[in-house]
Symmetry: C2
Subunit: 513 residues, 2 copies
């Protein structure tokens, strides 16, 4: 079977199940059902505070075959996923499925657990480091399911993925299960991605290293969703919580691309009062924000909101009055955490509110401009941020496809060539985000506009921006690098890439050799 | 059939259905299910803003037999319930069931709609004024179902009551359905009681007179739950939003009772650091807060939280540092609204988090002391706040039974005699809250302790408080008033009083003559 993008995908994938093929970014809207939830009610006098992770594992009756979930707000500083799986492994339990909103290099111990059958399934929106590599090498028994930041809450809410136990790393909690991320040694700010887990898991365990007297205000996740609370010495390393990617580009190429992207936004007519904006936390993407900041200041423009994972750069724009509000699903640095804690204009949002296509309207739907990165782009504007050009998994959508689908103007900013490899290709190794959602590709050597955006082509042709076709951009890249060698794959599927609506947009196969 | 309190209740009540008899305050804890939710997803570009209530009625396909819901945060200033039902009536629609968290005198127009069959069912937690009187006279086709503030969200979440359309009066909203109650002409603060309606109704319509640019931060109810937004000229009269009952008692009897109640709290050992406290908004109840305030200040005590409907008096205690936090499901006055808006220690909560017995632990579960009012109390400590001694409905539980069930010390404060009628009786006209949840009754002529609280009796006997039995208290009252005449009722059931778990604790029959 081929899906609408021409990708060969089996009807049925062993260890995944029946495939719903991707059928276009807008194909799945309509009547949706949020799943029922079973819980055990808590009566006056009941206690939730347990003495150890082991006691929690007893209480939730952990057993073979369960799906357990984690949020990734502690990023590469997270201790909780490793500690929980370690304790589970010690019990001789097998066949655990990990539903983690993202997986980082710190989660390397999972590789051993994959090899010995403790962990046989992973569902995640982003995966990098040793675990990603091990998946690509075929060490996980079933294909990893790659979701999006909006697709995961959709899947959880719909009941497609059922979480038996959610383990919520809680920077601050009280003994009755109220949680916030704004205080404590591992303060990470918004806990947006943990919200659906708390709401829909059969059992919810909060794990904290900062147990405070009741109530742990401001409450981000409420006692009404939490079964048990465990106090541990440390839930994470603050140094790893702040993402290493949140540094603004200083190199001339990155800055040039950022300036061009800002000019594209301007020429397209999107820089105006009440505009909304989101950018990734990569260096070039952040540099676009800096360019936008200059223009907004110069012209006295006040935008509606900036959204996303929030960095200090975006907080500055709020503080300068360039946006009325921020929507924050995840704080990337301490400045963002403090602003989220102290400024009521800095509004939190759960993962569903951020990006689900199956609720009554996600925040991404209201984005004017989204600045995105890419590992590869093809001449149909399909974007890969899942695998490297070597075929190895090194990321995933995160909010890429969600924001691209929602934004009126989705701009990919990228160097034309990276590490002597062309970024624009005939076919991307893996499709993460469909080309229909991408409007413009900005590189230092030219700008390509998606042909379906005739309105944009018309506007931008009037500018003196270097507009060329995506094919011309590809040719330029290949002239610099030569045509790259094709990566060789086996037939074994190691990852199923779900679009935000749960259809399969692509699969990743095991790399040969 | 008699329930555990000896109340005669049919197995089946016409217009209500099969009866689950009340079987004790703790009988229903255990495994619970939250209902699934059906919704229509909203895609990028879709608009939610409609031009009129009539357009909204078209969009939600309003029709005979539907259940429509309302919150009561605008109290006796609410225009929305009347306006919606007016438009529905104009369409010739019949058999509407109103699920309103409370009903006030301003809702008098419902009486006509009841008489002409537009409205044939009412589910509410509190009902006063002409509608209550009309129900008592038998004008509603089916018995009104009286729930509690915690029982209503339980019922909605469980699917027992299914809301077809929730109409949410929104003091501030944006065109995409984000709502807050802290700005606008009809600012009412917390929108806690509207939360389950937004989450579980098939369709949700926000009606606002303060449409602001997106996003309407701070968001209390999110766009992910709202289908449509309607802008009207006015959603309510601010004068009616501030409850008339929130004036502290100045009369010597009220003050004496308050002082005695505070001494009971003290002698019982509940006035100490980390204590939690809630009081009703009646004059004597508020006077207890004032007494507590003095003691806490004198002794340098810092409590954990105060909860409930919040008044300026309680805000003062927060501001003075006497409590670390407030939990607010409803603001009773402007000072509470402003504090809720500006002070992050003043935490909002939804109706379920406040009082549902079927989630993972409501805030009421953590109450140390609850100060309650009463219309009647019987010698089993059962309390009536549903009907007057004349048998006419004049209130309802609100949070009475929820807080009484949760609090470690539930104190009823009341004059022994009101309007020449005794408050303590052999049998209350209607049981709202079971005696097992009431620990102490404080009157100006004596204090009765529930015999099951042997610990309290022991502690309080050591004080020089006037402890007597409830029977003695009853005798004292009757000596002053004589034995009151029995009210005569027909056999027609006009109200079914549900305990917070959905069992039937009592019924109200039509008054004869």
């Amino acid at each position: 079977m081929k899906n609408i993008l021409g990708r060969e995908i089996p009807d049925y994938i062993e260890g995944y199940g029946k495939v719903k093929p991707f059928n276009g970014a807008s194909a799945s809207y309509g009547i949706k059902t949020k799943s029922k939830v079973k819980l055990t009610s808590v009566k006056p006098g009941d206690k939730k505070l347990l003495s150890s992770i082991n006691e929690a594992l007893d209480k939730v009756k952990i057993k073979d075959g369960m799906t357990i979930s984690f949020h990734h707000h502690l990023r590469n500083g997270d201790f909780i996923l490793n500690n929980i799986v370690y304790e589970i492994a010690k019990r001789g339990i097998k066949n655990i499925k990990i539903a983690a909103s993202s997986i980082f290099p710190i989660h390397e111990p999972l590789v051993e657990h994959m090899k010995n059958g403790v962990v046989t399934g992973i569902v995640t929106n982003y995966i990098s480091g040793p675990v990603a590599e091990a998946v690509s090498r075929g060490y996980l028994k079933t294909p990893v399911v790659m979701m999006t930041h909006g697709g995961r809450p959709r899947s959880i809410e719909s009941g497609e993925i059922h979480i038996d136990v959610a383990f919520i790393a809680a920077p601050t909690a009280d003994s009755y299960g109220n949680i916030n991320g704004v205080y404590g040694n591992a303060a990470c700010g918004s806990l947006g991605y943990a919200v659906p887990d708390a709401q829909y898991a059969d059992k919810v365990v909060a794990i904290t290293d900062n147990l405070v007297p009741y109530p742990a205000c401001p409450i981000e996740i409420s006692q009404e969703y939490v079964d048990y609370v465990v106090k541990v010495d440390s839930i994470g390393n603050p140094d790893g919580i702040v993402s290493g990617t949140t540094k603004i580009a200083k190199d001339p190429v990155g800055l040039k691309i950022a300036q061009m992207a800002a000019r594209v936004m301007d020429a397209s007519g999107y820089i105006k009062n009440n505009m909304s904006f989101q950018t990734g936390a990569g260096g070039t993407s952040l540099a676009v924000a800096a360019e936008l900041e200059k223009i907004m200041k110069d012209r006295g423009i006040v935008g509606s909101f900036a959204a996303g994972g929030i960095t200090g750069y975006i907080v500055d724009m709020l503080d300068e009055g360039l946006f009325r509000n921020l929507f924050d699903v995840q704080c990337f640095d301490l400045k963002a955490v403090e602003s989220y804690r102290d400024n009521p204009k800095h509004q939190g949002m759960g993962g569903s509110m951020y990006g689900s296509p199956s609720n009554k309207g996600a925040v991404v739907n209201n984005l004017d401009v989204m600045i995105l990165g890419a590992t590869e782009i093809d001449t149909d504007f399909n974007v890969n941020v899942t695998t490297g050009s070597n075929g190895i998994i090194m990321g995933g959508s995160g909010g890429h496809s969600d924001t691209a689908a929602g934004a009126k103007l989705a701009i990919v900013v990228t160097n034309l060539v990276k590490g002597r490899l062309p970024i624009i290709k005939d076919k991307v190794t893996t499709i993460t985000t469909p080309g229909e959602s991408i409007d413009v590709v900005v590189t230092e050597r030219g700008i390509a506009i998606n042909p379906k955006r005739k309105d944009l082509i018309e506007k931008l042709e009037k500018s003196n921006l270097p507009i060329i076709t995506i094919e011309e951009l590809k040719d330029k890249a290949e002239k610099m690098t030569g045509k790259p060698e094709e990566v060789k794959f086996s037939d074994d599927i190691v990852a199923v890439v779900e679009y935000r609506d749960g259809t399969v947009i692509d699969v990743v196969k095991k790399v040969l050799g």
